[in-house]
């Protein structure tokens, strides 16, 4: 009896509580990110400052971004979405949007304008690849190489990966078709702007795989971004692709004998996604945080902790020095003019259509 009474009393209380705060903002915020140095940069650049302004808010982190799409879909099916804001790569944000799992964002209304008054949608420009996506950073998947193991001639083109005569040794590549097949076709003589046309033709994928075949027995395939820096540090591979921030920390923070090979770096985006169907009070809190966390200054601040380029054009001039190492961050940004002479821009729409098909071919090829 007592228990039942207590239960009824608490549920009445929570009911009353819900009514009272529905107009306000929830004080709990569950953020989903990648963990590691990247999440640390988010904490320092905008979560800590936001908490200083809103001392009542409590932030909980969930380091599940790698499985964000699958987990959000499962939460949605179970009718219990416990996340408030999810950090996801652009292609995942498109899938979340397609599946109706993410809230559409009205970029100009929901986000802060640039200090000079430029609207948010103009400030982010082409980087708004999906209606549900608020970009934070531009990162790239690119190569690093062991400068002590490449011999006399330094590689200056991504095609060094396919040149086993000049640069023998193992290469680390990501275990997925994306980026690898584009690089293969590019080094097989396809013009950069025709890569996706060729890949879409009959025999296009086969041509890319044939090129990859020439180095297949020299490739170590990685699945986690941390593997390549380790493989390079151990001397297991001579070249390795990974996210540029990982290479930056191996070079600048751990002083490994590694050098960047920026040629044909593959640009990609990472940003925030708001799960669909949040209760009003939670959504209000999320949108308040989102507006703050993606303004011009906050995105520029983030670049002081990690070498990823801010997604807003107006943030670029504000990028300063590394917060702890004191080195100038601009030359380490994938977007720096010295690094972005020849870049590969990854076609989200094309991959959304063809990923499953090409993946099957890629997996079959790997298993051969």
């Amino acid at each position: 009896m007592k228990l039942a009474k207590m239960f009824m009393a608490t549920s009445a209380l929570t009911l009353a509580g819900n009514v009272a705060t529905a107009e306000d903002m929830a004080n709990e915020l569950t953020l989903v990110s990648w963990g590691g140095a990247y999440q640390a940069s988010q904490v320092k650049a905008y979560v800590d400052p936001y908490l200083a302004m809103n001392p009542d808010v409590k932030v909980t982190w969930d380091e599940s971004s790698a499985e964000a799409v699958a987990k959000l879909r499962a939460m949605n099916e179970a009718g219990n979405v416990t996340w408030d804001l999810v950090d996801a790569v652009a292609s995942d944000s498109m899938r979340l949007c397609d599946e109706g799992l993410a809230e559409e964002i009205n970029h100009d209304e929901d986000l802060a304008a640039a200090p000079d008054g430029t609207s948010a949608s103009d400030d982010f420009g082409d980087l708004l690849v999906s209606d549900c996506f608020v970009p934070q950073i531009v990162y790239s998947t690119t190569f690093g190489y062991r400068k002590d193991l490449v011999g006399e001639t330094k590689p200056d083109s991504v095609c060094a990966i396919f040149d086993l005569d000049t640069w023998p040794g193992k290469r680390a590549l990501q275990k997925r078709p994306i980026d690898n097949v584009e690089w293969a076709l590019y080094c097989d003589g396809v013009a950069k702007d025709e890569i996706y046309d060729v890949l879409g033709e009959d025999g296009g994928m086969e041509r890319a795989l044939a090129k990859l075949d020439t180095i297949k027995d020299q490739v170590v395939w990685w699945t986690a971004g941390a593997e390549t820096p380790q493989l390079l540090a151990d001397g297991e591979v001579v070249f390795g692709s990974t996210f540029n921030g990982r290479l930056f920390s191996a070079i600048a923070e751990q002083n490994q004998p590694i050098e960047m090979l920026w040629d044909m770096q593959s640009f990609d985006l990472d940003g925030w996604v708001v799960p669909a169907g949040l209760p009003a009070d939670r959504k209000a809190r999320v949108m308040d945080f989102l507006k703050f966390a993606t303004d011009t200054q906050r995105l520029a601040d983030q670049a002081a902790y990690i070498s990823y380029g801010p997604a807003r054009a107006s943030s670029a001039p504000l990028v300063g020095k590394h917060a702890e190492l004191g080195i100038d961050m601009a030359p380490h940004m994938p977007t720096d003019p010295a690094n972005s002479g020849n870049v590969h821009v990854y076609d989200y729409e094309w991959w959304a259509d063809n990923r499953d098909d090409l993946n099957a071919k890629f997996e079959a090829w790997l298993a051969k």
Binding site: A66, E67, V69, A70, R73, R95, C97, D98, E99, G100, K170, K175, E206, V220, W221, T223, D234, G235, E236, E349, A352, D353, N354, R355, D356, D357, N359, A360, K361, E363, A364, W365, L366, A367
Partner: protein, 424 residues
């Protein structure tokens, strides 16, 4: 005492009811009480195990999304003959336009596009792009939706796209299962996929033989260890037991990473081999990122599951049996093979089933040390669950794996007998 003499009437209990009924009632009450006692466990298993498995199995054939999102189109397209070479009629296009308008308002058009894209690459962007305009469709105001839709996106004039919609309009599909066995629905029934797209049967075979190899390695390594454990005095046995259990309690990821450090080309084992001159520095052994790496790492990780049941069975075997055999003139080998070994078979059986079934479902270790040729089918299931989001295909693969395990279990029961399995 009348009941013994009264042959016609039923036997009565003390309270006058027939004894049979009274007995049955008492038994029923007992059964109900027993059932109530196990009810929490039963409910728990039902909710947390049987229902999810059933749901997973259902997902592998479920295909309601097409009929739910495009109800008018599905009805209109039913009579269309895809082999006629003609595009569907105006009525089908008008139905599609009306369905798309509704779906775009409900934001479900991209979901159906994603579903159909598993079967026909490219169709998801057709739905996504058309959906952007579909909210503003004026269904009555357009004279020919056929022209209008093809005008919006020329892919609406492609027969293959309509064929896909027609083929996948039923609420139940065999598409996922066909895909899981490297087949697909072709123009005339099911056919094998082209050689370059076959993945899963090959992987399933590899998973089975490698799991078997791991099980055999575990038996060979565990048997002597378990024997020593069972025959040492308690004190020493306990210390050795801790050595078996310590790795068992260590995180799986730590143990797998340790194998990476040991086995890689610049790793500890290769360094030692080069240092003592067995292997040339330019020809270091490749013992990771292949099947060898997976077998070594997984044998190590699963070894305790083999040692523990073997140990507990061996402990129950009285040493006097072996002594008796020897005193009757058996050689060491005969005594072991004819007397000792048969008594340990239940332990080997229990350990083998445990190790084999665990191995068949492993995916973290193969992903980290297996390279391209040492990965399992579970890696593909994990990929389709968490990355490609093709849960139907993942369910079909899981269902096939489940069926294979059940068949093997049945075969084991026929050959060795499941009663002949002991955990101690």
């Amino acid at each position: 005492m009348s009941d013994t003499t009264d042959t016609g009437g039923p036997v009565l209990a003390a309270d006058g009811t027939p004894l049979k009924r009274s007995l049955a009632r008492a038994l029923r009450r007992q059964k109900m009480r027993a059932l109530l006692l196990i009810a929490p466990l039963l409910l728990f298993i039902l909710i947390s195990f049987i229902l999810p498995v059933a749901d997973m199995l259902y997902r592998s054939v479920k295909n309601g999304i097409v009929a739910e999102t495009l109800p008018r189109t599905v009805v209109a397209i039913a009579d269309w003959d895809a082999d006629s070479g003609d595009l569907p009629s105006e009525a089908v296009y008008a139905a599609m336009a009306a369905d798309l308008k509704e779906a775009a308002a409900a934001k479900t058009h991209t979901k159906v596009g994603t579903r159909l894209n598993y079967e026909n690459p490219g169709i998801s962007s057709l739905f996504r792009k058309t959906g952007r305009k579909a909210k503003k469709f004026d269904i009555e105001g357009v004279s020919s939706w056929k022209e209008e839709l093809i005008d919006i996106n020329k892919d609406w004039g492609d027969i293959e796209n309509w064929r896909t919609i027609q083929t996948y309009s039923p609420r139940v599909t065999s598409g996922y299962f066909l895909n899981a066995v490297d087949m697909r629905v072709g123009t005339d029934g099911a056919e094998m996929r082209p050689e370059a797209e076959r993945i899963y049967m090959n992987l399933l075979g590899r998973t089975l033989w490698m799991s078997l190899a791991i099980t055999v390695c575990c038996i060979l390594l565990a048997y002597p260890v378990a024997w020593i454990l069972a025959n040492l005095p308690m004190r020493q046995a306990n210390i050795l037991m801790i050595l078996v259990l310590l790795p068992f309690w260590t995180s799986l990821l730590v143990r797998t990473s340790a194998w990476k450090i040991l086995l890689q080309q610049q790793g500890v084992i290769n360094d030692i081999l080069v240092w003592i001159g067995l292997v040339d520095d330019s020809a270091r052994l490749v013992i990771i990122n292949n099947q060898f790496g997976t077998i070594v790492a997984m044998t190590h990780i699963l070894l305790p599951f083999m040692i523990l049941p073997m140990y507990s069975v061996m402990q129950t075997i009285p040493p006097s049996y072996l002594r008796a055999a020897k005193s009757l003139g058996a050689t060491d080998w005969t005594a072991f093979w004819r007397v000792y070994f048969p008594q340990t078979v239940p332990g080997i059986g229990a350990g083998s089933i445990l190790v084999f079934i665990l191995a068949i479902g492993y995916y973290i270790t193969p992903a980290l040390v297996g390279g391209t040729k040492g990965t399992f089918i579970s890696n593909q299931i994990a990929f389709h669950i968490s990355s490609s989001l093709n849960w139907g295909l993942a369910s079909a693969l899981g269902a096939i794996l489940l069926a294979v395990v059940l068949v093997l279990y049945w075969a084991y029961d026929k050959i060795v007998g499941i009663d002949n399995v002991k955990l101690g």
